[in-house]
């Protein structure tokens, strides 16, 4: 028994990652571990003494980085996200040959569907490419989610929801990306990135949105090297004393500004619009305005980047005037692009922006129901393909709020029951 518990650090060996801070692969592994709640130590390759303790000489070469030392002592060099996930035992196979419901995405909508489906006795499987929680999972503090008067962090909400879903018997497969969907009799098959195929009688696409790309020359070369999409918790502490810029005017950008203000020397929030009021919740605007080291610049866009191997400064344009803003890190929290890559090929009807059309919206969009085979109309969250549903941010017309996504994820299970009854056997 120890007399002291200073920091609740795990007492068993942790994952150790050795690499160059500017490595985008290293960033993706850090992000994966962080978002899945796996403790790890990051060792910069320039820390010669520590590196010598950890690695034999042959594994310190640039082409061997990043190196991941697993808790059991196994070294992966160079490490990949998939290799790390497999090495940690986080990649499992589906336990059944067929499910009632396959859920694509473990964000708020997907997790809510998993909880309600499993709690109502459906055989449910959720596929998640990165980590439970989706975009909401990276949110530092959701203060207006019902029932949490002091707020709850996105990661904690996701952790609780995941535990809840598993307690009811839902399966969640991590580190698997959906490759494509095919029709499979009256149901569907989800084909995953590792070749696994999962059959189910109904399917829910709750794959959410990706951050919208910023079109600035040279930005892709700096991803993970000072430029990041979203504002993942893994990077906040490493920005201690840095100059941070955040692009975006929505709640995600506001929450990122609050999070980084705790660590960074200075935070600049770059907003294309004329004010924050149109896009950010008032409670966040108030908090951002009260932070001394956060500056909000409206009517401003990033038009260029200065870098060596790492981001050094931004060129920003405001009212036709271009100026230079020193920045060690740039976080892009702008809008969203629907994540339908793996799902769209099966023939789902999409709106002009690529979001999935459902329910009554299908009837009002020409041609969407041309191949609809049933006498009934699509159910409220059903796509133009019977038994294939969509919920959350990926759905056309959805309210981009965590609570709204959870509501849709809960609601869709009742509709899945209707579909399964239609197929018989329920």
């Amino acid at each position: 028994m120890s007399m002291i518990d200073y920091d609740a650090r795990p007492v068993t060996p942790q994952v150790v990652l050795v690499g160059d801070r500017a490595s985008s692969v290293g960033y993706s592994i850090r992000d994966f571990l962080s978002r899945n709640g796996v403790p790890y130590q990051w060792v910069d390759v320039d820390d010669a003494a520590r590196v010598a303790e950890l690695l034999p000489a042959g594994e310190r070469e640039p082409d061997q980085l990043p190196v991941c030392v697993l808790p059991n002592g196994v070294r992966l060099a160079p490490a990949t996200l998939e290799g790390v996930a497999t090495g940690l035992g986080m990649v499992s196979a589906p336990s059944l040959s067929e499910y009632d419901l396959t859920i694509v995405g473990a964000g708020p909508a997907g997790l809510a569907a998993a909880v309600y489906a499993a709690s109502e006795g459906l055989r449910a499987l959720t596929i998640e490419a990165v980590a439970p929680g989706g975009q909401a999972g990276t949110t530092s503090m959701i203060e207006n989610y019902l029932g949490f008067p002091q707020g709850i962090s996105g990661s904690e909400l996701a952790t609780r929801a995941t535990a809840q879903a598993r307690r009811f018997g839902a399966e969640i497969l991590l580190a698997r990306r959906l490759a494509h969907i095919t029709s499979d009799g009256p149901g569907y098959a989800a084909h995953l990135s590792d070749g696994t195929a999962v059959q189910s009688r109904a399917m829910l696409v709750a794959s959410g949105v990706d951050w919208r790309r910023l079109e600035v020359p040279g930005i892709d070369e700096l991803l993970g090297s000072g430029v990041y999409y979203g504002a993942g918790p893994s990077e906040a502490i490493t920005c201690s004393g840095c100059r941070v810029a955040i692009v975006g005017g929505g709640n995600s950008a506001g929450q990122a500004a609050i999070r980084f203000s705790r660590y960074a020397a200075h935070v600049t929030l770059l907003v294309r619009g004329r004010s924050l009021e149109a896009s950010m919740s008032q409670y966040l605007i108030t908090q951002v305005q009260e932070l001394r080291n956060v500056e909000v610049r409206t009517n401003t866009e990033v038009v260029g980047l200065e870098s060596d191997a790492h981001l050094r400064a931004l060129e920003i344009s405001s009212g036709g005037t271009v100026s230079r803003l020193l920045a060690d890190a740039l976080f892009l929290c702008i809008g969203g692009a629907p994540r339908t890559q793996g799902a769209a090929a099966v023939g789902m009807a999409l709106d002009g922006a690529g979001y999935v059309r459902t329910g009554a919206e299908l009837s009002s969009s020409a041609g969407s129901l041309d191949r609809w085979p049933l006498s009934r109309q699509p159910l409220p969250l059903e796509t133009n393909l019977p038994g294939l549903f969509a919920a959350g941010d990926v759905r056309s017309g959805s309210i981009k709020r965590c609570a709204a996504a959870i509501g849709e994820g809960s609601m869709v299970v009742a509709l899945v029951h209707q579909r399964l009854a239609e197929l018989g056997g329920e």
Partner: protein, 212 residues
């Protein structure tokens, strides 16, 4: 500090109690409402903990040399059988999630740990520098599992306190300086004489020295 315990303290407090003493202590604990299982080795203690903790349980494992050497810490943090709180807390943002961290660590469904002394009449004595381990054991946790090596059995309460000051503290202080770069302290002490919630607390008494 950091020199470790004196030779006299080492001799007095590192020796395992006899099987007869262990049996008597086990009876005392049971009389006070604390379940007690006696096992012969750390490996058996590990098996006993596995049989007690329900699959999927939310568990906080206190920092404990006893839990480390028996493999119980590894089971809790890495087996995938439970929801371990320690890795979850470690990942949290100390600035933004301080309140969540405090709540989680204060009231786990299960807490696993050890004690610094166990008297022959069945009193458990635990010291802490921060006090963070004591609240869950006293009342915050739903269930408590304590693994106790046979060298921790002492004749009475005063000897138990002496064991803490003269033996445990010097060893813990040395460990804390090495692990955290700060000294430890006997700042808070919990004494459990009895419990009014039978079945909440289980002591696994091991017939060999474990931890300190």
């Amino acid at each position: 500090m950091g020199a470790g315990p004196s030779k006299a303290a080492e001799a007095e407090f590192s020796r395992a109690a006899s099987k007869g003493q262990i049996r008597a202590v086990a009876d005392s604990l049971e009389r006070h409402g604390i379940s007690c299982t006696v096992v012969d080795s750390g490996e058996e203690a590990r098996g006993a903990v596995r049989s007690i903790l329900p699959e999927g349980a939310e568990v906080y494992n206190n920092t404990s040399r006893t839990l480390e050497v028996t493999g119980v810490a590894e089971d809790i943090e890495r087996s995938g059988q439970y929801q371990p709180l320690r890795p979850r807390l470690y990942q949290m943002d100390r600035e933004m999630q301080a309140r969540e961290m405090r709540q989680l660590s204060a009231s786990p469904d299960w807490v696993a740990g050890s004690v610094h002394a166990l008297t022959e009449d069945g009193s458990l004595i635990i010291a802490s520098a921060s006090g963070s381990q004591l609240g869950p054991i006293a009342s915050g946790a739903g269930h408590v599992v304590l693994i106790v090596g046979a060298q921790k059995i002492v004749s009475d309460f005063d000897t138990g306190l002496r064991r803490i000051y003269e033996y445990c503290f010097p060893l813990e202080d040395r460990r804390a300086r090495q692990a955290y770069g700060v000294s430890s302290g006997v700042n808070t002490v919990l004494v459990i004489n009895s419990t009014i919630a039978p079945g909440r607390t289980t002591v696994i008494l091991v017939n060999e020295p474990l931890g300190f």
